[in-house]
Amino acid sequence: MAERYSSFTPGGTGWFLQRITAAFLVVVLAFHFFLLHFVNHAYEVTFMGTQARMENVGYFLTMVLFLITATFHGVNGVYNALVNQGLEGTQKKAVLGVLVVAALALVGQGTYVALTMAGMI
């Protein structure tokens, strides 16, 4: 039973952030999908178009934030799902490590990509 008695509980924070990011994602994901499939058809996407959008700072920031929240939300979701399936001990730590690395890589690569699109690199 009661093994952890700190006021900072990872369970609660994770749960809470998962909801907050979800609420944020609803808006951005809908926007994203709409923009790239209905306003601009995906098959018409060109580097020029992408670059044009990315050069708008607001859009750029939104997309990076989108990436970060989605990554957190997705990876945290996967982690929770695995923990719920009974992941324990070192295995759990290992999975956490892998996921964190993957998440960082994803965000890193994604941000890099976004920067190139915006022509900043």
């Binding site: 979800a22 499939h37 209905f38 995906a42 996407v45 060109t46 996967v78 799902a81 699109m117």
Partner: protein, 143 residues
Amino acid sequence: MSQSYNRGLIEDFGRWKEFSAGMWAWIFHKFTGWMLIGYLFTHIAVLSTSIGGAQGETTMVDGEAVNIYTATLQGLEGLFLVRLLEVGLLAVAVFHILNGLRLLMIDLGVGLDAQDKSFYASLVLTGAITVASVPTFLTGVSV
């Protein structure tokens, strides 16, 4: 003193026929969530071609030199399979969003009595939105 032995399907998910709305919602949400994160990774990988694109790399399409990013994206978009997968992605995303909203409501303690109805509503809406978007997704596809 109790003995444990394998009661087969009673213990695992094999009893899917007896699942209730809430369980299905959970399973679908999981499934769609995993699909989405998987897609996110792929998505970024594909978009990485923009790194080359930005440096002016090109590739030959129909005898023309095209920006490699544009070429990759349009090449993929030209495939019927990709279009189909995109419809699937939309379905997955829409369900995850709708059910995600349902879950957020439940977390706030709203509409708990109607949790099964809201799940069915998510399903139906997902279906409707997906079907409605098929024309948009399939236009201009060169098979």
